[in-house]
């Protein structure tokens, strides 16, 4: 074989190529930094929050943000109806949003990947059973389903995660099943069977690594979605219970004062918007990076 320039290019694994492609987009990178920033804020909340989020100070009831008349620099985003520091509550609220979002997606993706792989690769009655269950679950409106579950089990962190994950797993499941159906017909899967690979080996080692990209993309999009759902539940009073700060309940708290004290609802609302938007941009960037057709 002659020396060929193509072969002289560094041998990089497909994962590294994808990451490099992702980092090439400035917008994606900025949003990824924003999301990471939210995560760091959430983890380090006790260190960064200027005040105790639950410390009420009735003298500061509905105190406006720092740059408005009557505001104080120490209470940057103002205070709510009980005189609690909004900035601190947003920082602590990030913990709830991100933790619930991540936990739900982790549980749902694990279940969905397992179920989707089994349905797509094993076919037969396994596929029929899983696909029917997915169809049935898809028939219920998401939020009403979650509300009903929480009404039965009562609010609480664990129950909220379960109520959302109960249905969320069907999304990765459907993606994984479709990708697996396509992958199982590919020749490299046949080659693995011809070499004597077991079904478990083929599902885990041959198919899964090749369908991870769409799973990761879908998981990030759905994470944004779950964060909104959690906020909706909190808004309706079915989320984490007071006094724990959560963005959804903070928006709800401010409803009554929208005209006189807009900041109470607006800042947590903005936090939801920024986080969800950033996650969506990141997922779009990941999709482009994973799809070689989108690359120039």
């Amino acid at each position: 074989m002659s020396a060929v320039p193509a072969a002289a290019r560094p041998a990089r694994s497909p994962v590294l190529e994808n990451l490099a492609a992702f980092a090439a987009s400035k917008l994606s990178l900025t949003c990824a930094v924003l999301v990471l920033g939210c995560v760091v804020l959430a983890i380090a909340a006790p260190l960064v929050a200027p005040h105790d989020p639950n410390e009420a100070d009735l003298f500061r009831r509905l105190q406006p943000p720092a740059w408005m008349e009557g505001g104080e620099i120490a209470y940057l985003l103002g205070c709510d109806a009980l005189g609690r520091d909004i900035a601190s509550r947003i920082i602590y609220g990030a913990r709830i949003s991100i933790f619930i979002g991540a936990a739900v997606i982790l549980v749902a993706t694990t279940i969905g990947v397992l179920a989707g792989l089994a349905a797509g690769y094993l076919r037969g009655w396994v596929d029929v059973a899983i696909s029917r269950l997915v169809d049935i679950l898809l028939g219920f409106p998401y939020l009403i389903f979650a509300i009903a579950l929480i009404a039965m089990t009562g609010p609480g962190l664990q129950n909220i995660i379960l109520a959302l994950a109960y249905k969320e797993w069907v999304i990765p499941c459907r993606v994984v099943r479709g990708e697996t159906l396509a992958a199982r017909e590919l020749e490299y899967v046949e080659a693995a069977r011809a070499l004597g690979g077991s079904s478990r080996y083929i599902m885990w080692r041959e198919i899964l690594p090749n369908i991870l990209s769409p799973v990761i993309v879908v998981s990030t999009v759905r994470m944004a979605h779950v964060i909104i759902l959690e906020a909706s539940l909190s808004f309706l009073g079915l989320g984490v219970q007071p006094p724990t700060a959560s963005w959804g309940s903070m928006v709800a708290d401010g409803r009554a004062f929208m005209l006189d004290a807009w900041w109470v609802s607006t800042f947590p609302g903005l936090a939801i918007l920024v986080l969800v938007l950033s996650i969506n941009v990141v997922s779009q960037g990941l999709r482009d990076a994973f799809d070689p057709r989108m690359r120039r």
Binding site: M1, S2, V4, P5, A6, R9, R295, R296
Partner: protein
């Protein structure tokens, strides 16, 4: 040469900007198509044969562009032609068929619609009201479907592409290409996707129509046997350049370029089943950074020191030319 060529390509350079650098897919290609002849363009994947004719058809899209040279077709310079005038030319005076007829045909329209569209767009001989013009175009569509040998054509006019077999789809694409009686038909790998019995039918059809309609045909293919049976002259391309051009018989009987010789020795022949195949070692060089001099040098069994300097096309007797320093004329 007797009649002036209807297509004349001189020094064509077509480049593509890629992540790994500038790729010159076509680098200084000269070729001519004479009236009424069938020219075979042969080469392996990536040799630039399809890009050359995509350039001729004005179908090179960014990041690709024509970086130099001239393309003259019926006394018009195509490299500087604006898109509107080009569009009028394409489909009327020259037409192209693609390798994959399933993706080249629009799945949402019936075959009649697709043939009629070309006719309505280009044919100045239609007259009367819009309805009369459509009726004439439809009659032409039927005539074309008959011409390319689609059984019970009248019944199948309103079928969609997916309702036809691969061979029939290739015929429909030929019908669309020929609907306006072009002077030049460029057939890009017309039979590669087809089975051998269907392949023979389609190639016979192209040859017959060429004589009947008096057009020129360029047959782009990787199969020298197809060229041997259907073409008058051959152009052999390698790594973006023409390396040899000759009348078909002469090229096959006495190839001059070592690459052409290697290609011929690689082909399994039914007439010599026990003759061992003699492959060309190595692989096609990467177009991103080509070595100077002869591009076949590193795989060539007879390469010499002087092959490292630039090699021009050397004209030989018998209307042939070859890009090799070892050829007769170069000695």
């Amino acid at each position: 040469m007797s009649a002036p060529p209807i297509l004349s390509v001189r020094g064509l350079r077509t480049t593509f900007a890629t992540r790994h650098g500038m790729v010159t897919a076509v680098d200084g290609v000269d070729l001519e198509v004479l009236p009424g002849e069938c020219l075979g363009v042969v080469g392996e994947s990536g040799c630039g044969k399809s890009v050359t004719f995509a350039s001729v058809m004005g179908l090179v899209k960014p990041p690709g562009r024509i970086a130099g040279g001239s393309i003259r077709f019926l006394d018009q310079e195509l490299t500087t032609l604006d898109e509107a005038r080009f569009r009028a030319l394409r489909g009327r005076d020259m037409a192209m068929t693609m390798q994959d007829a399933l993706t080249a045909l629009n799945p949402a329209y019936t075959v009649a619609d697709q043939i009629m569209e070309v006719v309505l767009e280009h044919d100045a001989s239609l007259d009367g009201s819009a309805r009369q013009r459509r009726a004439q175009a439809r009659a032409r569509a039927l005539e074309m479907m008959d011409l390319v040998g689609i059984p019970s054509a009248a019944k199948r006019l309103d079928d969609y592409p997916h309702q036809f077999s691969g061979g029939m789809r290739q015929r429909i694409m030929i019908a669309i290409a020929l609907a306006c009686r072009p002077r030049l038909l460029i057939a890009d790998e017309p039979t590669t996707a087809l089975d051998v019995t269907i392949q023979a039918q389609v190639l016979d059809l192209i040859s017959t129509l060429r004589t009947e309609l008096g057009m020129s045909v360029v047959l782009i293919t990787h199969d020298l046997a197809v060229v041997a049976e259907h073409c008058d002259r051959v152009v052999v391309m390698y790594a973006g350049q023409v390396v040899e051009t000759a009348p078909t018989r002469a090229l096959i009987d006495a190839p001059e370029h070592p690459y052409t010789r290697g290609l011929l020795a690689s082909i399994p022949r039914l007439s010599a089943l026990d003759a061992p195949l003699d492959p060309i070692d190595g692989r096609v060089p990467d177009l991103v950074d080509l070595p100077p001099g002869c591009r076949f040098r590193e795989r060539c069994t007879v390469a010499e020191a002087r092959c490292t300097s630039e090699v021009p096309m050397v004209p030989l007797a018998g209307e042939r030319a070859v890009r090799c320093v070892l050829a007769e004329g170069g000695r």
